[in-house]
Amino acid sequence: MQRKLLLGVEAIGQAAIDAGISGVYAYPGTPSTEITEYIQENEVAVERNIHRQWSANEKTAMESALGMSYAGKRSITCMKHVGLNVAADVFMNAAITGINGGLVVVVADDPSQHSSQNEQDSRFYGKFALLPVFEPSNQQEAYNMTYEAFEFSEKTGLPVLLRITTRLAHSRAGVVQRELLPEKMLKLPANPMQFMLLPSYSRKYYQQLIDKQPLLLKYSNESEYNTFSHGTDKSLGIVCCGIAYNYLIENYPEGDCPYPVVKIAQYPVPEIWLRKLEKECDELLVMEEGYPLVEELLTDFFERGKKVHGRLSGALPRRGELNPDHVRKALGHEQPEIAEVPAGLVGRPPSLCAGCGHQDTYFALNEVIADYGDGRVFSDIGCYTLGALPPYNTVNTCVDMGASITMAKGAADAGLEPVFAVIGDSTFTHSGITGLLDCVVEKTNINIIIVDNETIAMTGGQDSSAKGRIEKICEGVGVDTKHIRIFVPLKKNHDEIVKLIREEVDFKGVSVLIGRRECVQRVARMKKMSSSKNE
């Protein structure tokens, strides 16, 4: 069988297409972005005209995916872990409504925070919502489990949460594909009130969800992805979740792990295998990417049971992604002799690109702030967050998508004057508009700078929903057109930009300044694409 070299995320995209989805709904976020990009460029997806445009944010994405499921078709929605916070409202409630067409929610967690503000573990969301969670351990499993997740979703009547982490997302391996399935036909839910969560209905649906839990457990116990392997040395029993299994086997290259091992790739946790392991072994070691979810579950609060080792006990690091070396240490194996990193090597921190317009905005803003003192620039998530670092040292906060405007508002309410919010074009349409409305309603004295590079730059230059719409949106929300000011962030415009910001600082109300110049990376990419097309 032909193997195709795919990243974990690409394997998920390919599996979704092969399983007959009619739509992918997503907002970019590392390490989940390439699932959607893969589908966008795939021939079959293009030919079938599967929905594959970016959504404004993760909440609108998941709601649309649920709508497609309502209409009887298969859909997938993809996001990074913090994106699930944005979509948490619909996620929790989709567990209550259930699905009509198969619905898979892919969430890519980022332990070690390679590109994220935290390393929250999405398995907790799955548990919270009482939904089945799939956590593949390699690229082939990522393909197979995604492919099967749609049928599983339809069989159980529930959305499936597919959880991966950075390492699987961005690692390539050969993957064998399965048969391409046709799309589902349009078919409304058999119960017209299925998606009507009036309390009188939803109490009943919630009970039904609770009643399904033993069935989910049964499927977990029977899943081919949850396994028990026998061992001769019963002093220790090992539990491995997702890709942690690979790090264990890496330490036994001849396949000679002496301990019994439970591999978990589907939740709720497979009780029969865990009970068997606990019965057979003296102590347990739990290896999982992310938070110590399973370890906490197995650890006896009153310490009367068997000892459980893992991230909580200190056998493995409390935070950050696992690797074969952590696992080697936890197993008590000897470390090999290694060369040391020479002293004095400096890092190369990420920085704004040469020619990036954000730099010009920050140098101008710094000049204005100098009159008032630091600590008043609230910012957001995107390339421009790098404005926190030298040589700019301009922005003071970065918390979550859209928080620049609303945190600046809160600080203004507290009496800080003047305040600034720096937010990107796509972050503005993702979660900034409602905050702007709050400011307009209360006539907050705030200066919002939308740094508009006309793309979602940080994740690789995806199309931004904001493009060509920002002024109209601000007007529509109620910002006075006299205080919607546009500038072009270029070095030669420095004095003009400083003057413009000063004028708006003098105005005691809502000002929106839009610094518009296309991302230099996107310009270069577009040029390259059009020249290769002409060849």
Binding site: L5, T30, H170, R172, N323, P336, I338, L345, V346, P350
Partner: protein
């Protein structure tokens, strides 16, 4: 048979093309392969590393354990030094000598190379000059792949074929100059 390779460089220097070529070659040879790479924030002029594992039996971990890489293949000298703990005691560090200076406090590297040279096998190659000499200044990454190729358990012809596959879309001239760069690097390492 297994080869674990740490590929290092700075974002935009073409280490992912090296990975793509070795990936295509491994697939062609029916070998197992895993290749973990850096995406996201680190791409903006930052350090980029890829763990590339090729084997004739199934590979589990996407990450190479410390002390077990056969090769560090770096297209930039400072970046090559960051990952020496991954190298086996009898492994080989193959690096370009052209420095990529996008930081103010770029350190002097010579003392570190001298010191490490007493313990490790190191091949230093001016890949940028060699690439210019072969007529395609952009092919320094292929010079580096060539220099590392004697230590990779894949036939030379198979890698050349993979270079063809990966660069095909860019035209015959690009394919040919990249092949030449590969062969020049290989010859340097073997001589």
């Amino acid at each position: 048979m297994k080869t674990d390779i740490i590929l290092a460089g700075v974002g935009g220097q073409g280490i992912l093309s090296i990975a793509a070529i070795l990936g295509a070659a491994a697939l062609n040879e029916n070998l197992y392969l895993k290749q973990a790479e850096t995406h996201g924030m680190s791409q903006r002029g930052g350090e980029v590393v890829s763990h590339l594992r090729i084997s004739d039996s199934p590979i589990y971990s996407d990450l190479i354990p410390l002390g077990s890489a056969e090769i560090i293949l770096s297209v930039e000298p400072l970046e090559s030094l960051r990952y020496v703990p991954f190298l086996k005691s009898d492994g080989c560090l193959v690096t370009n000598t052209t420095e990529f200076r996008n930081i103010a406090n770029y350190p002097k590297l010579e003392p570190a190379f001298t010191e490490l040279g007493t313990k490790l096998k190191i091949i230093q190659i001016d890949a940028d000059t060699m690439a210019r000499e072969t007529g395609n200044p952009k092919s320094s990454n292929m010079v580096m792949l060539g220099a590392a190729s004697p230590f990779i358990h894949i036939d030379k012809e198979i890698i050349l074929k993979a270079i063809e596959t990966v660069f095909k879309a860019k035209g015959d001239k690009v394919v040919e100059s990249n092949k030449q760069a590969f062969l020049a690097g290989r010859e340097f390492a073997l001589s």
